[in-house]
């Protein structure tokens, strides 16, 4: 099987049309999902806050498309993209965001804690860096069970400040665990540029533990997909953990309430990324250039997915809340 994969990579041609269009669908799905989340917040229909993934879609899709359905991921407070990319359905996600019983966690988790074991999603985590040990442990479990699964630990560059990450990488490297640490460097820890919080070179942090480390452009879904296939394959064959740095950007605020951002980053910077480095636009252009799709087709897809998202939202809006007496259920397994 592993060797089969290898040949697959070797022979990998220009992304085939079906796959390319599927990537597009997935990225559009995340984009439109998050725009709806923002609307739900602005219209005061969503309790609490949410952290939008808009601008980073290529990372979640590029990496998750290279995974098996039974492979594991752990995610972060900015987790909707990872969740969708791994295969979750928008209706149950919206239901969770609105605290409804039809949600993935029966409304108990909310935006920062969506988990879905059916797609290998071990859960978003509201503790920065909090899932580094969990993902590493899932990889250890996969190795012990000889299941051939790998675990991907998604985290923002802010988690480089958390000691747990280094403790985990050390053990992953020592024991050659099948875990891939995916650092999404969107340039900011909340309201602070990562250069003010991060000494030295990010790549050196993982290389120091003897971990195979790669840095790539985070807005190019195809590049991320190809690189992911390669390192995931290596990791799956028992060559030990890998560390992937994807340079990207969040187009909106740290959370939906972070409107005035001028004190920590310039409008100009935001405009540049939105106009020149939008991962969805970039893929759409490539699809048209390579004549895999014309504008019409892409617009049809947008429309179709827009409708799916709208249905998901109304499903969630109309779904019932949990019975109050559920409050003390699921404390002990």
């Amino acid at each position: 099987m592993a060797s089969a994969k290898k040949s697959k990579i070797a022979s990998l041609p220009a992304l085939d049309r079906a796959k390319a269009l599927h990537f597009y669908r997935q990225m559009v799905k995340i984009r439109l999902f998050e725009e709806q989340v923002n609307q739900l917040y602005l219209s005061a229909k969503m309790p609490g806050l949410a952290h939008l993934y808009i601008g980073q879609e290529a990372v979640a899709v590029g990496v998750c498309e290279a995974l098996r359905r039974d492979d594991y991921i752990t995610s972060t407070h900015r987790g909707h993209g990872h969740c969708l990319a791994k295969g979750a359905s928008p209706d149950k996600m919206f239901a969770e965001l609105l605290g409804k019983v039809a949600g993935y966690c029966r409304g108990k988790g909310g935006s920062m804690h969506i988990a879905d074991q059916d797609t290998g999603n071990l859960g978003a985590n509201a503790i920065v860096g909090g899932s580094a040990g969990i993902a590493t442990g899932a990889a250890m479990s996969a190795k012990m069970r000889r299941s051939g699964q790998v675990a991907v630990c998604f985290f923002g560059e802010g988690a480089l400040g958390q000691g747990l990450l280094y403790e985990s990488m050390n053990m992953a490297s020592l024991w050659k665990l099948p875990v891939i640490y995916v650092c999404e460097n969107n340039q900011y820890n909340e309201y602070t540029n990562y250069r003010e919080s991060t000494a030295g070179e990010v790549s050196a942090r993982a290389e120091a533990f003897g971990i195979n480390t790669e840095t790539i452009e985070g807005q190019d879904v195809e590049a991320i997909y190809r690189k992911s296939l390669e390192i995931i394959d290596q990791t799956r064959r028992g060559n030990g953990p890998a560390f992937l740095i994807c340079n990207t950007y969040r187009f909106y605020g740290h959370h939906v309430g972070d409107i005035d951002r001028s004190y920590y980053r310039s409008k100009k910077e935001e405009e540049e990324w939105k106009t020149q480095r939008d991962p969805v636009k970039l893929l759409a252009e490539r699809l048209q250039k390579s004549e895999m799709a014309d504008l019409e087709l892409l617009q049809a897809i947008d429309k179709e997915i827009g409708a799916e998202i709208d249905d998901a939202v109304s499903f969630a809006l109309n779904a019932p809340y949990p019975q109050p007496d559920e409050v003390d259920q699921h404390v002990y397994a």
């Binding site: 909310g110 909340e190 309201y191």
Partner: protein, 340 residues
């Protein structure tokens, strides 16, 4: 500048209404002006003024050398704070959500709390760890806890839980001037609460409870967010002829046991209300101190209301059931007074 005794009433002339958050900021600003050794370190405390915007503007006055944005390293910044405090500074470390103190426990408990004692009294750790507590912000299980019971359990630490802007300012100034480590918990939901605070400088002593409302029939002992809840409960009870005394413990360590016990002896009934998990929480210590100290005066068992013993759920319909309400407190009070 005199310490204001709990019973003193501030003369109206000098008072203005400010929010709990402003009171915190004033206390920090005044202490930083007064003592060059005081500085602030934490995540997004400078330009951003913290996630709750409580410190907005401080960096303008004191600069980034004294209002320091840190990486996301709770253990590291707490350790740095301990070391700076041991060597001549008086740092205030900001831990955004009380849930994150889980990451600081070794530095606070095995280091800060014990260094003075382990060194036979030679080394001192004059630091303050400011953090938050309180649920119902729809922030779910990892951003809603009130974990002050943990620190209250540890000899060597003092623990402050203010319930009004006036108390917050006076207690924070005392915490900063204390020669040992103090943990200061702020209720996130209270930052916008307004209250009278004098223009004049003042401090409030650590270890002195405050009777927020005098009463005859039952004592409601409360902390932080639950003081306001208890005051509302007292209003519900008033019309039905139950006069409730509301005692704010203000600091769980040192605990003003005398005031609590005297009040319970006077009223013969007591309920302890706190927003931490009820089981093995601070209500247990306070209730057992009262049950022991007022044993021969009590007409009914001391009751406790804490947060429900469940991780804080996200869904509003569930979360709202986990925190004690004025109505719930009033119900228990009625039963204890046989008026239910």
């Amino acid at each position: 500048m005199a310490t204001i005794p709990q019973d003193m009433h501030v003369t109206p002339a000098t008072v203005r209404e400010i929010t709990f958050g402003q009171a915190i900021k004033e206390a920090l600003a005044e202490e930083m002006r007064r003592d060059p050794r005081v500085f602030i370190i934490g995540e997004d405390v400078a330009e951003a003024g913290t996630a709750f915007k409580v410190l907005s503007g401080l960096v303008k006055e004191f600069g980034t050398e004294r209002v320091i944005d840190s990486p996301i390293s709770e253990a590291g910044i707490t350790g740095i704070t301990v070391g700076a405090a041991m060597t001549g500074m008086r740092p205030v470390v900001d831990i955004m959500f009380g849930d994150f103190i889980t990451l600081t426990m070794d530095q606070m408990v095995n280091q800060a709390a014990k260094i003075h004692y382990m060194s036979g009294g030679k080394l001192r750790v004059p630091m303050v760890l400011r953090t938050t507590l309180g649920a119902t912000r729809r922030s779910a299980a990892q951003h809603s806890q009130s974990l002050h019971a943990w620190f209250s359990h540890i000899p060597g630490l003092k623990v402050v839980l203010p319930s009004t802007p006036f108390d917050a300012k006076g207690l924070l100034k005392s915490a900063i001037r204390d020669d040992g480590p103090v943990v200061f918990f702020e209720d996130k939901m209270m930052y916008q609460l307004k209250g009278p605070v004098p223009e004049e400088e003042y401090t409030l002593p650590l270890g002195v409870a405050d009777i927020k409302r005098a009463g005859q029939d039952i004592t409601l002992v409360a902390t932080s967010s639950m003081v306001q809840v208890s005051l509302r409960a007292a209003e519900i009870l008033e019309p039905i002829g139950i006069s409730a005394e509301v005692v704010d413990v203000r600091t769980t360590v040192p605990l003003d046991t005398r005031t609590l016990i005297d009040s319970a002896r006077k009223t013969s009934r007591a309920i302890v209300i706190d927003e931490g998990y009820e089981r093995y929480g601070v209500t247990a210590e306070i209730a057992s101190v009262i049950a022991d100290g007022a044993f021969y005066y009590l007409d009914a068992p001391v009751k406790r209301l804490g947060a429900m013993n469940v991780p804080v759920p996200f869904s509003p319909v569930l979360e709202d059931r986990t925190v004690p309400t004025a109505e719930a407190v009033a119900e228990v009070a009625k039963r204890l007074c046989n008026k239910a």
